[in-house]
C-alpha cells in the first residue's frame, strides 16, 4: 500500500469513527421526563434517593424499595399511615383463634390485578410459597418462619408444602397457622416480603417480570416506566378497588443519590418531596414550612465487644455509658432534633413504656471505673478502638464521644473508619472493641429491638449472652395477654440496659422530610413509611 493511499484510508476510517460517535452521542437524546404537561394533571415527583435493587417484593431488602413496592402492591393488611396499626386492605377482615395460632383472612371480592384478574387467596398462597422456595433466594424469607413448618420447608427438612401452615379455604378465604402465638404477626403481613405477586407475570417472564412491559400490580399505582439510575414512573391503577380514593394521576420517583442535588431539585421546583435533609443543611432547613421533623423508630448505638478485656466487666461498660452526655451530641452534632437515648427501644410503640435507663452521670462513672480497678489509684485503662463505617456523621459523633471519655474518665480511645463491608465482617467476627451501629424497626413492637440480643442471635454481634434474658424473650413470645407480654419485654430491656449494657444507646433518629407546602395528605410515622394513595397536590 502506498503511503498516500494508506493515509487516505486512515482518514476514511477516522471520519467514519467520528460520524458514529457523534451519532451515538445524539441518539437517545430525549426530553425531560419530569416536566408536567400544564394541564390539571396531578403529577407528584419525589426522590427515592437510590436505584432500587429490585422491584420484586420477595427479593427486596431496603426501605427505598419498600417505598416503591407499597405503591405498586397491596397486601392482606397495610400499616395505617399515621399509627402504623395493621388495617384492612385486600383482606376486609380477619379472625384470630383464641390460642393466637390461626389467622383466617377474608378477602374482599372486588380486589383486582392491573390486568383485570381478581386477587384471590391463591395469589397469596402462591406468593408466600414462592418466598419459601430456596430457589427464589429471598433474603427476608425469615419473616415467614413464624408460619408453621415454614422454616422446615425452606431448609428442606420437609418436602410436602401441604404441611406448611398455609391453606386456601376458598377463593376469598385464606388461613394461616403459626408455629407460636406471635403478637406482631399482623404487622409482618404488611411487610414487603409478604406482598402478593402475580403468578402469570412471574412464570411467563422470570427475572424480567418486574419490567414495566411485564409487571402486573394490585396496588393503587402501576409501573409504566423504569429507567435504571434515573427514574421510575407510576400511574394510577384504574383496576384498583379503591381507585376513587386515589388522587394522584402520576408519580415520578427519581433515584438521585446525592442529597444536596436532591435538595436543589426541590428548591428549583423539580421535585415535591425528599426524605433526608442533608446534615449540612439541617440548621438552615429545619424551621422552614417544608420541613417535617418527626420521631422515627430507629436507634443509634454503640456495641461493646464483651469478649474483650476490659469490656467483659459490666462496670466498665456502665461507666463508659454514664460518661457520655447524649444531650450534647443531639444538640451540637446531629442537630436535627433527635432525642437522646437512655433505652434501646425508642418511645412511641403503643402499649410499651421502656424502663427508665441510666442518665448522664460522670461522677458515678468514675466511681464504677474505680470499682473495676481502673483510674488514678488503679490500673491503667488499656487503649480501645471505636470502629465505624466511613461517614462524616459517624466520625463527628465518635470524636465527640472520644473527647467525653478523655475528659471525664481519662480514657484514651482511637477512632478507626472502615469500608462498609469490612465493618460488617469485623462485627460478625467479633473483631473490634467498640462499634457504632443503628437498628431500624421491622415492625411496630419492642420485640424487633429486643429479640436480637438473645444468645448467639445473628444480629447480637457483641458476644453477650444471658440465660435469664433468653428466657424472658422466649416467655414473651408465647404470652397471649398483651399487657403481660409488654411487662416481660420491659423486664428484658431493664436487664439489658440497667444491668448488663452490652450496648450503649446514643440517640433515637428522626425522620427529616422536606415536602412542598402544596402537597397535601402526606403522613409521617415512626417507620417513615409513605403510602402515596392519599396524597394530592393543591397548586
Amino acid at each position: 500500500m502506498s503511503k498516500g493511499r494508506m493515509l487516505k484510508s486512515v482518514r476514511v476510517v477516522f471520519s467514519f469513527i467520528f460520524l458514529i460517535s457523534v451519532s451515538m452521542i445524539f441518539a437517545g437524546c430525549n426530553g425531560d421526563a419530569g416536566k408536567s404537561e400544564g394541564s390539571g394533571e396531578q403529577l407528584f415527583r419525589f426522590n427515592l434517593a437510590t436505584e432500587p435493587e429490585t422491584l420484586d417484593p420477595a427479593l427486596m431488602t431496603g426501605s427505598p424499595e419498600f417505598t416503591a413496592a407499597m405503591q405498586l402492591f397491596e397486601g392482606l393488611v397495610v400499616n395505617d399511615p399515621n399509627t402504623l396499626e395493621p388495617i384492612p386492605a385486600v383482606a376486609k377482615k380477619w379472625d384470630i383463634s383464641d390460642d393466637g395460632l390461626v389467622y383466617t383472612f377474608y378477602l374482599r371480592d372486588d380486589a383486582k390485578w392491573s390486568n383485570g384478574d381478581p386477587v384471590t387467596a391463591n395469589d397469596f398462597y402462591y406468593s408466600w410459597k414462592r418466598v419459601l422456595e430456596p430457589e427464589t433466594v429471598s433474603e427476608y424469607v425469615y419473616q415467614l418462619f413464624y408460619v408453621r413448618n415454614a422454616k422446615k420447608y425452606y431448609e428442606r427438612k420437609i418436602t410436602d408444602f401441604n404441611e406448611v401452615g398455609l391453606e386456601v379455604i376458598d377463593d376469598y378465604t385464606f388461613r394461616v397457622t403459626l408455629e407460636n402465638p406471635t403478637a406482631f404477626w399482623l404487622d409482618l403481613v404488611a411487610f414487603h416480603t409478604l406482598l402478593p405477586v402475580n403468578r402469570k407475570a412471574v412464570e411467563e417472564h422470570g427475572v424480567k417480570w418486574t419490567r414495566p412491559e411485564n409487571i402486573i400490580c394490585n396496588g393503587p399505582f402501576m409501573l409504566t416506566e423504569w429507567v435504571p439510575k434515573a427514574h421510575i414512573t407510576m400511574v394510577k391503577n384504574p383496576n384498583y378497588y379503591d381507585s376513587g380514593a386515589v388522587k394522584l394521576d402520576k408519580i415520578i420517583a427519581y433515584t438521585i443519590e446525592d442529597n444536596i442535588t436532591s435538595l436543589q431539585m426541590l428548591e428549583a421546583g423539580e421535585s415535591d418531596w425528599m426524605n433526608t435533609i442533608p446534615i449540612t443543611h439541617i440548621d438552615k432547613m429545619k424551621n422552614k414550612p417544608e420541613a417535617h421533623i418527626t420521631p422515627m423508630m430507629t436507634t443509634y448505638y454503640y456495641r461493646f465487644n464483651v469478649k474483650k478485656k476490659p469490656l467483659d466487666d459490666k462496670r466498665v461498660r456502665m461507666a463508659l455509658n454514664l460518661a457520655v452526655d447524649k444531650q450534647t451530641i443531639v444538640d451540637y452534632v446531629t442537630k436535627a432534633g433527635q432525642t437522646p437515648a437512655t433505652t434501646f427501644v425508642p418511645p412511641g410503640i403503643p402499649g410499651y413504656n421502656p424502663p427508665p435507663g441510666p442518665e448522664y452521670n460522670p461522677e458515678k462513672a468514675r466511681q464504677l471505673l474505680a470499682e473495676a480497678g481502673y483510674g488514678p489509684d488503679g490500673k491503667k485503662f488499656p487503649e480501645l478502638q471505636i470502629i465505624y463505617n466511613t461517614s462524616e456523621g459517624h466520625k463527628k459523633i465518635a470524636e465527640t464521644i472520644q473527647q467525653m471519655w478523655m475528659d471525664e474518665l481519662g480514657i484514651r480511645v482511637q477512632l478507626h473508619n472502615v469500608e462498609w463491608k469490612v465493618y460488617l465482617k469485623n462485627l460478625q467476627a467479633l473483631d473490634y472493641d467498640i462499634a457504632r451501629a443503628a437498628w431500624i424497626a421491622d415492625y411496630t413492637d419492642p420485640n424487633t429491638f429486643l429479640d436480637m440480643w438473645v444468645t448467639d442471635g445473628g444480629n447480637n454481634q457483641t458476644g453477650w449472652s444471658s440465660a435469664k434474658y433468653d428466657g424472658l424473650i422466649e416467655s414473651a413470645a408465647s404470652e397471649l395477654d398483651p399487657v403481660k407480654r409488654m411487662e416481660i419485654m420491659k423486664e428484658a430491656e431493664d436487664l439489658l440496659i440497667n444491668d448488663e449494657m452490652p450496648i450503649m444507646p446514643i440517640y433515637f433518629y428522626v425522620n427529616t422530610n422536606l415536602v412542598k407546602t402544596y402537597v397535601k395528605g402526606m403522613s409521617f410515622n415512626l417507620r417513615d413509611l409513605h403510602p402515596l394513595k392519599y396524597v394530592w397536590l393543591e397548586k
Partner: protein
C-alpha cells in the same frame, strides 16, 4: 499498517486475560461479600444464598465457571440489582457515559486547542498569560466544585437549566462543561507547549520563506506536528472520560457507568465489578492503539511498515 493493527489486537488478548484473572482473585480476597448486610441473615438463609450463587465453591472453581461464561460473552447476573444482568447494566449505562464523555471531549478540544494555539502564537503577551492562568485554574479546581457552582447559579438561582437528569440539552450542559473543563485546561497547556516547539523548526521557516499564508503555515504545517503531545494525552484521557466519572454522575444523577466502577466494588457486586474492569481495560488498550495509529498519520517520521 493493517498487519500492525491486527497484531496489536491479538496481543491484547493475553493482556486482558491477565487483568481479568488478577482482578478476579483480588476481588475475592476483599473482606465481606455481596450479601453481608447490617441485618445479619440467619445461617440457613445464608447457606441457601451461597449455594445459589456458587459462593460456597472453591475460588478456582468459581473462576473457571466465570471464565466459561465470559467466553460466551455472558458477564453474569448482578448480585445487587437482582432484576438485571451485567450485560444489560452495561448496555444501558455505557451509551449515556459515551454521550457525556464524548460531548465533554468535544468541548475540551474546541476550547483547549484554539486557546493553546493562540497562547503559543502570542507567546509572553497578555493574552498568553491570561489563557495560561485560566487553564491553571481549570487544572486545579476539582470538577465537583465547578459542577456545584454551575448548578447553583444556572439551575437553582436562574432556573435556566435542570438540576439533574440526562437527555435534554438543559440537563446536559452543566455536567458536560464541568467534566470537560479540566481536560480543556490540560489540552490548552499541551498544545501551547507543542506548538511552541514546532514553530521554531526549520520546516516551518521554510514554509514561511516559500511565501505561504500564515494561516496555511499554522494549520497545515504547525498544527499537525504541534498536536502530538495532545494526541498521546488523549489516549488514556479518552479511556478515562468514556468510562465515566463517579462524581459528576452522582451529583447530576446521570445514569452512566462511572458510578458502577466504584459502587460495584464497594457493594462486592462481583460480576458487575468484573464487567467494569473488563470494559475499562478494553477501552484503555483500544485507545492506546488509536493513538499509535494517529501518530503515524500526524508525524511523517513514524511508520509501522
Amino acid at each position: 499498517m493493517f498487519r500492525f493493527i491486527v497484531l496489536r489486537l491479538l496481543g491484547a488478548i493475553p493482556v486482558l486475560l491477565v487483568i481479568v484473572t488478577l482482578s478476579f482473585f483480588l476481588m475475592k480476597e476483599a473482606p465481606g461479600g455481596p450479601f453481608d448486610r447490617e441485618r445479619a441473615l440467619p445461617p440457613e438463609v445464608q447457606k441457601v444464598i451461597e449455594e445459589r450463587y456458587h459462593l460456597n465453591e472453591p475460588v478456582t472453581k468459581q473462576y473457571l465457571r466465570y471464565m466459561g461464561d465470559l467466553a460466551h460473552g455472558d458477564l453474569g447476573p448482578s448480585f445487587k440489582y437482582k432484576d438485571r444482568t451485567v450485560n444489560e447494566i452495561i448496555a444501558q449505562s455505557l451509551p449515556v457515559t459515551i454521550q457525556l464523555g464524548g460531548l465533554a471531549l468535544i468541548f475540551a478540544l474546541l476550547i483547549g486547542i484554539p486557546a493553546g494555539c493562540i497562547a503559543a502564537l502570542r507567546q509572553n503577551s497578555a493574552l498568553d498569560y491570561a489563557t495560561m492562568s485560566f487553564s491553571m485554574i481549570g487544572v486545579s479546581v476539582p470538577n465537583y466544585v465547578v459542577l456545584s457552582v454551575l448548578i447553583y447559579v444556572f439551575a437553582v438561582k436562574l432556573n435556566l437549566v435542570s438540576v439533574s437528569g440526562w437527555g435534554s440539552p438543559k440537563q446536559m450542559i452543566c455536567p458536560v462543561i464541568a467534566l470537560g473543563l479540566i481536560y480543556s485546561a490540560y489540552i490548552a497547556r499541551l498544545s501551547r507547549a507543542g506548538m511552541l516547539e514546532v514553530i521554531r523548526q526549520d520546516f516551518v521557516r521554510t514554509a514561511r520563506a516559500k511565501g505561504l499564508y500564515e494561516r496555511i503555515v499554522i494549520i497545515r504545517h504547525c498544527l499537525k506536528a504541534g498536536l502530538l503531545p495532545v494526541v498521546s494525552y488523549l489516549g488514556p484521557a479518552c479511556a478515562a472520560i468514556l468510562t465515566g466519572s463517579l462524581v459528576i454522575e452522582t451529583i447530576s444523577g446521570i445514569p452512566g457507568i462511572g458510578r458502577e466502577f466504584v459502587h460495584s466494588a464497594l457493594n462486592r457486586d462481583y460480576t458487575l465489578t468484573m464487567g467494569t474492569v473488563i470494559l475499562y481495560s478494553s477501552f484503555l488498550i483500544f485507545f492506546n492503539l488509536v493513538v499509535d495509529v494517529l501518530y503515524a498519520y500526524l508525524d511523517p517520521r513514524i511508520t509501522y511498515e
